[in-house]
Symmetry: C2
Subunit: 169 residues, 2 copies
Amino acid sequence: MTNLTDDLFLIDPNDSPETPARRTLSFSRTPTVLLTFAANRFTRSAARHYQETFGIGAMDWRMLVMLAREPGSSVSHASKTMGIDKAAVSRSLQRLQSNDLASPAATGPDERRKDWTLTQTGAELHDRILEDALARQRQLLDGFSPEEVQQLNGYLTRFLTNLDALNDD
Amino acid sequence: MTNLTDDLFLIDPNDSPETPARRTLSFSRTPTVLLTFAANRFTRSAARHYQETFGIGAMDWRMLVMLAREPGSSVSHASKTMGIDKAAVSRSLQRLQSNDLASPAATGPDERRKDWTLTQTGAELHDRILEDALARQRQLLDGFSPEEVQQLNGYLTRFLTNLDALNDD
DNA sequence: TGTTATGTGTTGACATGACAACACGATTGC
DNA sequence: GCAATCGTGTTGTCATGTCAACACATAACA
């Protein structure tokens, strides 16, 4: 099913005849451009803020959420759920452990696979950052109605589904 | 104006009484989570694809678009337009120049500020990748109507506007 | 029981991009 | 005219995250 024509996203160089610009992507009308732009700016802003305020990086904050959401996660499960490489996950957990924010527990006979949970300190930090994150998100969604938020979520979810299909080649 | 309540985005741990999960962000209902998730997965997939197919990284491809869109850009102008650090822009332009894809021209008495343009080779590569990028985007937006694309663009633009306001603190 | 295949976590090497410091030309104010 | 400030581009350093290689435990299967 193809209901979209490419000229939705293209800048026609004839729009401004004096410039020798080529026909290329519009920044303001191309969803993938806007998406990466918005996400990069958001991540950077959030990382700076959380580092200054709580002394924690964006990756480690995401991991706190992961462990709050699903205590007992393993490296591979967290990696799959968050869509982040398992190496980054492994290193994040080691940082959290060395800061006494998360701790591993052996789950069975396999010595490697560990169940990770938040420590008391980690849980408290999570709750403090969560409050802050919700306040920031409220500002970022200022002017959005609940229905619009739901629509945005739906669009992004559909985008992700299509991305999965695209990668299955 | 605040029309959104936090519980739109939160998982209630009581949903599954057997797990000791904390009240935290839902992955599937939180726009900022979905946004970074979608953008990271998209960027990674695109970077791998363009590297394999055209031998060029995601950053350099974005720069090709930038120069196609606005020939004669300087480092600082491209940096501001793309929202990327000027150091990354500077290094990208040097890579492009060493691959004969872009070339600088002195614009005035200031020896540093250069007008960058695509070479013939660069323009041809841009056009080839553009075709590929449009095909990929068509797949990623499969099932979207033109109106939905426009709505998505609008939401992301509003998000970016709010982000600007948030950073002005 | 071997023997292979699969899954899990760790490490090293690398790419990307942010931040800070710097050099230096341009601009402003006196 | 001169000093101070600002803008521009380059470089060093660092954090993040990917990929590849590896060690090792488990599972599948003849």
